[in-house]
């Protein structure tokens, strides 16, 4: 053995250094890889839960109609039945959570309707759209249309 290693000691020491480095690397890897990595795939299993942590800002229409039954009846019977409440009233999860603590946003009927119904060449032809200059007297939309059921007149 000693004869074999004669003149090769520097190589042995270098090899030992490399081996020590490799072992250190393996130890670090075992210690530092986050828990749950690789359980479902090449990612940290906890990331799935992390992506679910956010609190919703939109409540969803089923939440609104739990309380607002009158509006629901009007809405369900008209042409806006497919439009969600928050499409016009904005994000209302806080209000659904704590109705008294957070007021719902009431959009301005003179402007909100144009978000969808202002005439635009790129909109589908069969979609109801108007040019306010040519649409009757151009007053507030809810003067003639019920906001929740626009094919019906406003509630008297």
């Amino acid at each position: 053995m000693h004869r074999f290693l004669k003149d090769k000691e520097h190589l042995v020491r270098m090899a030992a250094l490399f081996a020590a480095g490799a072992i250190l690397f393996l130890i670090l890897q075992a210690v530092l890889v986050p828990k749950g990595f690789g359980v479902y795939g090449h990612y940290r299993a906890g990331a799935l839960a992390d992506n679910r942590v956010r609190a919703p800002r939109f409540a969803g229409r089923t939440a609104c109609v739990e309380c607002h039954t009158d509006e629901r009846d009007a809405w369900k019977g008209g042409k806006h039945a497919g439009v969600g409440c928050e499409a016009c009233h904005g994000a209302l999860a806080k209000h659904a959570e704590e109705p008294s603590a957070s007021n719902a946003f009431k959009p301005d009927p003179k402007t909100i309707c144009f978000t969808c119904h202002l005439a635009n060449v790129a909109k589908p032809k069969n979609f109801p759209q108007i040019d306010p200059k040519n649409h009757f007297d151009g007053g507030a939309c809810d003067g003639c249309h019920s906001t929740h059921a626009p094919d019906k007149g406003p509630a008297k």
Binding site: D7, K8, H10, L11, M14, L17, F18, G21, F25, V33
Partner: protein, 392 residues
């Protein structure tokens, strides 16, 4: 934030595309790793293919490669959103990601090829210096020799054999080092400017070209600074290899270009417009004309017409510098060019390079100067020319 960047958009870009993702720092990275691979391959010419003429540059080429390889990851670290997490690439490498696997290729090349080869080649010198030096230098050399004082004929013979083996392994490793960087770009099907199977090969040959040019210039500079006469057969040979490599590199790039023009697929019109407008200066003028055709012509001219030693030296310096400029431009055109056009093929944006920001021109310049600083230290510690001569 890039306020006003929207004004520089021509046509239509997907909204998230307007701001460039990869900056000049990412251009530096293939440039430096290319220099490393090229310098190493030149060094291996002597060791493995016994091209004796280039022997004077052997050690300098290795030291240059080491200096640049040490700096190579730095622009990447500056660029990352979270550089403190970069070790994750070693902890949980995603084997389908070329970038992740490159971390291991880099480590392999640095430790198992370059460091080992330099160590084996310099071991005798380091032992001699450990014996003759005093103070902290003595300690340093003793550490570098791993405390072994044996430089018998037999041990040196073993070193030489092992070194030769490592060089043989090192050549495909160097190919892999820079070919992989090419693959990092070439494998992205989403980007037609990058996606081509020849990308690794083009990157590799342009790396060889840049590395040879670097060693040529370094050798002439270091010899000049140390007052050592330049070995003309050496530089003549190096210049010839530079020309050969350049001809292959240029042919490959032209092949890719001709192929694109001929097939004219859905991306062609958009890319063609980009090359003729936003990329005109860097691609046509700097890379192709002044960075490739002019140096090749100069080097070819020398093969045909006999010129004096002084004239050849001048041409080598000029051709070398133009070459480095041209290869840098090639990296720029790939990285930046690949982000100037929209993936909708309907629009273009601009690259607004800042100066004194994290990813601006100033850090880029400093990072390119750093390897020369490191090389200066290495040359002082591990003289590339004979120990006796250097001690004078």
């Amino acid at each position: 934030m890039e306020e006003g960047l929207l004004h520089a958009v021509q046509g239509f870009m997907y909204p998230n595309e307007v701001e460039l993702q990869w900056s000049i720092l990412i251009v530096l990275y293939p440039f430096t790793t290319g220099l490393v691979a090229g310098a190493f391959i030149l060094a291996s010419l002597e060791r493995v293919f016994n091209v004796a003429a280039v022997k004077p540059t052997y050690r300098l080429a290795l030291l240059s490669a080491l200096a640049f390889l040490l700096v190579a990851p730095l622009p990447l670290q500056l660029h990352l959103g979270h550089p403190e997490r970069s070790f994750e690439m070693y902890l949980t490498p995603h084997t389908s990601s070329a970038m992740a696997m490159f971390g291991f290729i880099y480590l392999w090349y640095l430790m198992a090829v370059l460091v080992l080869e330099i160590w084996l080649d310099y071991r005798k010198d380091m032992v001699l210096l450990a014996r003759s030096e005093t103070g902290w230098k003595k300690t340093l050399y003793r550490v570098l020799t791993l405390g072994v004082d044996n430089i018998s004929e037999e041990s040196l013979r073993i070193d030489d054999k092992l070194g030769r083996f490592i060089t043989i392994v090192g050549i495909p490793s160097a190919f892999l080092l820079h070919g992989y960087v090419g693959f990092i770009f070439g494998s992205i099907k989403a980007n037609p400017w990058w996606s081509t199977p020849v990308m690794p090969i083009v990157f590799l040959f342009s790396a060889i070209v840049s590395g040879i040019a670097l060693v040529l210039l370094m050798y002439m500079l270091v010899s000049f600074l140390k007052g050592i006469p330049i070995d003309m057969p050496c530089v003549d040979t190096i210049a010839r290899y530079l020309m050969y490599a350049f001809l292959i590199d240029f042919s490959l790039e032209m092949l890719d270009l001709i192929h694109r023009i001929y097939e004219a697929d859905e991306s062609f019109k958009s890319l063609d417009f980009m090359v003729h407008t936003r990329l005109y200066t860097s691609q046509i003028l700097v890379q192709i004309i002044f960075g490739t055709i002019v140096p090749i012509s100069m080097l070819a001219f020398i093969q045909v017409v006999k010129l004096s030693e002084a004239a050849r030296k001048g041409i080598y310096v000029l051709a070398g510098m133009l070459t480095l400029m041209g290869i840098f431009a090639m990296r720029w055109n790939v990285v930046i060019g690949g982000q100037l056009f929209s993936k909708s093929f309907l629009g273009y944006t601009t690259y607004k390079m800042a100066f004194a920001t994290k990813e601006g021109l100033l850090p880029a310049i400093l990072l390119m100067l750093l390897p020369f600083g490191i090389l200066w230290v290495l040359v002082k510690l591990l003289p590339p020319f004979d120990v006796e001569k250097a001690a004078v």
